[in-house]
């Protein structure tokens, strides 16, 4: 019996599929030079799908549907909206990337990956979860290596594939052990089964560690972060932006749901492990970002560091903790997409990606420089941008849960972060081009960039000033886990 709740619970995914099919039908009939417009179709379609979902598919009481495969609740829904927004922004940013955006396949892969991510955020069953993770990952492997003529891109795709395949296999092994011990694959029944069963702590811990490998790869926490800099550097910039935001947030969606819902009894052991990992992740990410000369590698290490901050909210194990994770990810998605969008816009005109190449940018395009200011200060956690509130809320959750030492490590790290983020802004605002002839080297923006970047920068400021509605949504989402 297929009820309307079942339909509503996967309406966003159905709509994404429709967009994808539409692209498949329409694109071959368009002329070569018009195929870039698939980007408009994708972005517009995703925004339309968001609106339709917001109207017709809003969750009520949390409920497992489709035979216990999918959880229909605000946590999943909020993440789905975030992913689709990130997808729409990425589609716009792809449009003027000639090698990816002028063909339909890129957009199609993006949409396929989005379906997987949406299901990751909503899955309530180990089988569904694994399928979703693979659906999200495989298109991204292809997208990362999309530039066949570029060795670095090929390397990025291959590296991402190898790491991804390995870690997901390890995770799958963890899942199968879990099924063997608990006798169920339903996330919401696992807790009860593990409680009644006589699972020794060591065994449970081993299983958790195996699962953590897979998720740790997705969210790039140390020591599963090695792929991030190389893959970000090699893949097409908008794809790197998508990897560092939506893909990472999807990993966190799984992490929060799986660990909080399914392993409440084992919390003391896995929070201890995650707390140590969070501290190491923050520190390694920030310290390794210091010597970077390539802006995409810098952003890669910064995104590793940010994963560490988010982990503080996860291990707080409170409603505020989960709310802070959701809020942080929302702010982070907007900010990092903005940062990668700017990098894309800049390198499209100049073809350069080193930090030193940004010298004189405030004279070449003052507006773009201001956006970069907003993005990097938000990453550094400065008001009035989203990053500040997000950081304060995460730290507040950490302190509430008694992790003062972890928060202290967090703040020391954020000071290191301020140093290298400001260092980039120094090139943008202070240094000049070798011949001081910035007027002759403007950095023009095409309409898709203007729209995407303006929306993102507006969002970054909005989430940092009028944070009440965002926090209420995050809180509503968090409520579903407790």
């Amino acid at each position: 019996m297929f009820t309307s709740t079942m339909f509503a619970s996967i309406l966003p995914e159905i709509l994404i599929l429709v967009i994808g099919l539409l692209i498949l039908v329409v694109e071959p009939f368009w002329k070569e030079e018009k195929r870039r417009n698939v980007g408009w179709l994708t972005a517009g379609g995703l925004l339309g799908a968001m609106v339709i979902s917001l109207i017709f598919a809003r969750p009520g009481e949390p409920i497992s549907t489709l035979g216990g495969m999918v959880r229909f609740d605000w946590l999943g829904f909020f993440f789905k909206m975030l992913f689709m927004f990130a997808g729409a922004a990425t589609a716009l940013l792809l449009m003027d990337n000639e090698k990816v955006g002028h063909r339909g396949e890129g957009y199609l892969l993006l949409l396929a990956s989005l379906i997987g991510m949406n299901l990751m955020a909503a899955s309530a069953d180990l089988v569904m979860l694994y399928l979703a993770i693979e659906t999200a990952s495989i298109p991204l492997y292809v997208l990362a290596g999309f530039l066949l003529a570029d060795d670095r891109s090929t390397e990025a795709g291959f590296k991402y594939l190898l790491f991804g395949a390995l870690t997901s296999t390890v995770m799958l092994y963890g899942f199968s052990l879990l099924f063997g011990f608990a006798g169920t694959t339903d996330l919401y029944q696992l807790a009860g089964m593990l409680r009644t069963g006589d699972l020794s702590l060591v065994t449970a811990f081993g299983v958790l560690a195996l699962i953590l490998v897979g998720i740790g790869f997705k969210v790039s926490i140390v020591p599963f972060h090695f792929w991030a800099p190389d893959v970000y550097e090699g893949s097409p910039t908008p794809v790197a932006g998508f990897l560092s935001t939506a893909s990472k947030a999807a990993g966190f969606a799984v992490l929060t749901r799986l660990f909080i819902v399914s392993f409440p009894d084992l919390a003391p052991s896995w929070t201890a492990v995650l707390a140590v990992l969070a501290a190491i992740t923050m520190t390694v990410g920030n310290l390794l970002a210091l010597p970077q000369t390539n802006i995409k590698r810098l952003l890669a290490f910064s995104s590793v560091a940010h994963a560490g901050y988010v982990l503080i909210g996860v291990i707080a194990l409170t409603q505020l903790g989960v709310a802070s994770v959701v809020f942080y990810l929302a702010a982070y998605i907007l900010t990092n997409l903005l940062a990668f969008g700017i990098v894309m816009a800049f390198s499209r005109v100049t073809g350069l990606e080193d930090i030193t190449d940004y010298a004189g940018m405030s004279r070449r395009n003052p507006g773009l420089a201001l956006m970069m200011l907003a993005a990097f200060l938000s990453l550094a956690g400065m008001p009035p941008f989203g990053g500040f509130v997000a950081k304060v809320v995460v730290f507040a959750a950490g302190i509430q849960a008694g992790y003062v030492w972890l928060v202290v490590i967090g703040i020391i790290n954020s000071v290191i972060g301020v140093y290298f983020y400001l260092n980039v802004l120094k090139y943008v605002y202070l240094y000049r081009m070798p011949d001081q002839d910035e007027e002759k080297h403007p950095v023009p923006l095409t309409p898709p960039y203007t729209i995407a970047l303006a929306v993102l920068v507006f969002g970054v400021i909005l989430i940092g000033t009028l944070f009440a509605p965002w926090f209420s949504w995050s809180d509503a989402a968090a409520l579903n886990l407790f």
Binding site: S362, P366, L370, L373, L377, A380, M382, P383, P384, F388, V392, V393, F395, A396, I399, Q400, V404, V407, V408, I411, I412, S414, V415, V418, Y419, L422, N423, L425, K426, Y429, L430, F467, A468, F471, S472, D475
Partner: protein, 503 residues
């Protein structure tokens, strides 16, 4: 009060900054005009607040409260008391004069003011002013913190982009990291206070007036007072964390030095008072001797280092450390006289040091050197600036008849009541200050004009004169008529003493 004075004052700079950013880059004069307009509005409104503050009633007035994030107890909660009202006025004055000083001149006869990208300069300066106003009027701890951080980061850009080429990158980064580290350490303390309050009272709120009643235990206060107080006091230039301050002052462009020394350092002192002493009063009692020691060292050491400087701007920078040490010294007494003196000193030093930096900036723009031995005879070309500097110097020395005396005398009185020895030692600074101020006035303004400079110098502009006059008027007004400000600050001091429980 129906008119929302405080929120209008606070958000005027922000609106102005956005308007300026919307202007096209080449419309430099329009950017300056918008900046001046906003500064005048903010100044007039802060006058309104100052004169409409009911001193008989005391307490927090002009209260506005808007729920911002009820789930976490964050609200946009504005109000001023006798301590913060003068500081709001101070910010208005420094903002106004700062804009006048940085006006700039597009045909480049004089390299004064800001010629390079004035649009961005004024926008960042006003975002800074937004944060400063916000800190002074916020009664919500989260918002105080929010504005505090806003006041910190534009400094980096302002110094790094428009500062003195030689040291600006180093100084700007050093300043930002120092201040950010201090503020995040305070943040940890603040968040812990927030949760302990929740445990004690069951109220989830960042409202500082509620937090005053949270009943933090003695042990808790002893542990957390020092991180919170010192974290903020870093921005107040407290020894031994003052090192960023002279470097920052020297590297900053004139208007930013004025803002930095005149207002921002007060921001640190004020936040240390507001959050450290007023929310954790018992902790303050425990640690007052340490604070007093730090402050006394800052007072004497700062003055001595200022004495040996040959760079004019470094001299003023270290004199700021010395004078801000006096503010902290007053705080550490925790008695009526000391706190009153600190409140007055914050205003007096703000105006005085803004004037100092303005004059130093004017001289440097014309003579292109700040080495005191290379300067001389400035009185012949810019007598107006000379008069301004002399008045500032007299304030700095604590000469009766000027605001410095009104402020410093109660501080020493208060210190004497606590420990006479500290008062004696720190009063040495007055002698040293007098020595270096007199020496420099003689050398820079009254000795012979060096041949190298002869004929190259021009008088200060009309706008500069307006700025100097405004600043001087306040110093003389308070000196001759202390009733202008003393009763106001007293109402604020009453409030602090109440929290300290009559000590």
């Amino acid at each position: 009060m129906n008119f929302p004075f405080l929120s209008v004052i606070t958000f005027t700079p922000l609106v102005a900054a956005l308007l300026i950013l919307l202007l096209p880059a080449q419309r430099k004069n329009e950017a300056r005009a918008v900046a001046l307009g906003a500064a005048v509005i903010a100044l007039l409104l802060s006058f309104c607040v100052y004169f409409n503050y009911d001193q008989a009633a005391g307490g927090y007035q002009f209260i506005e409260k808007y729920n911002w994030l009820p789930a976490l107890g964050i609200s946009l909660y504005f109000g001023v008391d006798g301590m913060s009202t003068p500081l709001v006025l101070l910010t208005g004055v420094v903002m106004f004069t700062g804009v006048l000083i940085s006006w700039g001149d597009d045909d480049k006869r004089v390299m004064a003011g800001i010629q390079d990208r004035p649009r961005e300069f004024f926008a960042f300066l006003f975002i800074l002013a937004w944060g400063v106003f916000g800190v002074f009027v916020s009664l919500d701890l989260f918002m105080l913190f929010f504005f505090y951080e806003i006041a910190v980061f534009p400094m980096y850009l302002l110094i790094a982009i428009w500062g003195w080429v030689v040291t600006r990158e180093y100084a700007a980064m050093k300043l930002t990291l120092y201040l950010f580290l201090g503020s995040v350490i305070s943040l940890v303390g603040v968040l812990i206070m927030y949760w302990v309050q929740y445990q004690n009272t069951g109220v989830l709120s960042f409202d500082m007036l509620e937090m005053e009643k949270a009943g933090f235990s003695q042990t808790f206060q002893n542990i957390w007072f020092l991180p919170v107080f010192l974290g903020f006091a870093v921005l107040g230039g407290i020894w031994p964390f003052h090192n960023w301050s002279p470097d920052g002052h020297v590297a900053a462009p004139t208007a930013v030095s004025m803002f930095h020394a005149g207002v921002l350092m007060k921001l640190g002192a004020f936040a240390a008072l507001r959050v450290g002493i007023m929310l954790l009063p018992q902790g303050a009692v425990t640690w007052k001797w340490l604070i007093m020691f730090f402050a006394a060292v800052a007072v004497v050491y700062g003055a001595y280092i200022a004495f040996v400087q040959t760079d004019f701007k470094y001299m003023v920078g270290f004199s700021s450390v010395s004078h801000m040490g006096l503010v902290m010294l007053g705080f550490s007494t925790l008695n009526r006289e000391g706190l009153l003196g600190s409140g007055l000193q914050m205003f007096s030093h703000g105006v005085m040091t803004a004037l100092f930096f303005a004059v130093v900036g004017m001289i440097y723009d014309r003579a292109h050197t700040r080495q005191i031995p290379e300067l001389g005879g400035m009185n012949k070309v810019m007598s107006f600036a000379a008069i301004g500097f002399i008045i500032g110097g007299l304030v700095s020395m604590g000469m009766p008849g000027f605001s410095g005396f009104v402020a410093e005398f109660p501080i020493f009185l208060g210190v004497w009541r606590e420990q006479w020895l500290v008062a004696v030692i720190s009063s040495i600074s007055i002698v040293i200050t007098a020595a270096y101020i007199m020496r420099n006035i003689r050398q820079v303004f009254f000795s012979d004009l060096p041949e190298k400079l002869d004929g190259h110098l021009t008088d200060v502009t009309v706008l500069d004169k307006v700025a100097i006059t405004t600043l001087c008027l306040f110093m003389i007004l308070i000196g001759l008529f202390p009733g202008f400000m003393v009763p106001m600050v007293e109402t604020g001091v009453e409030n602090i003493l109440r929290l300290l429980g009559g000590t």
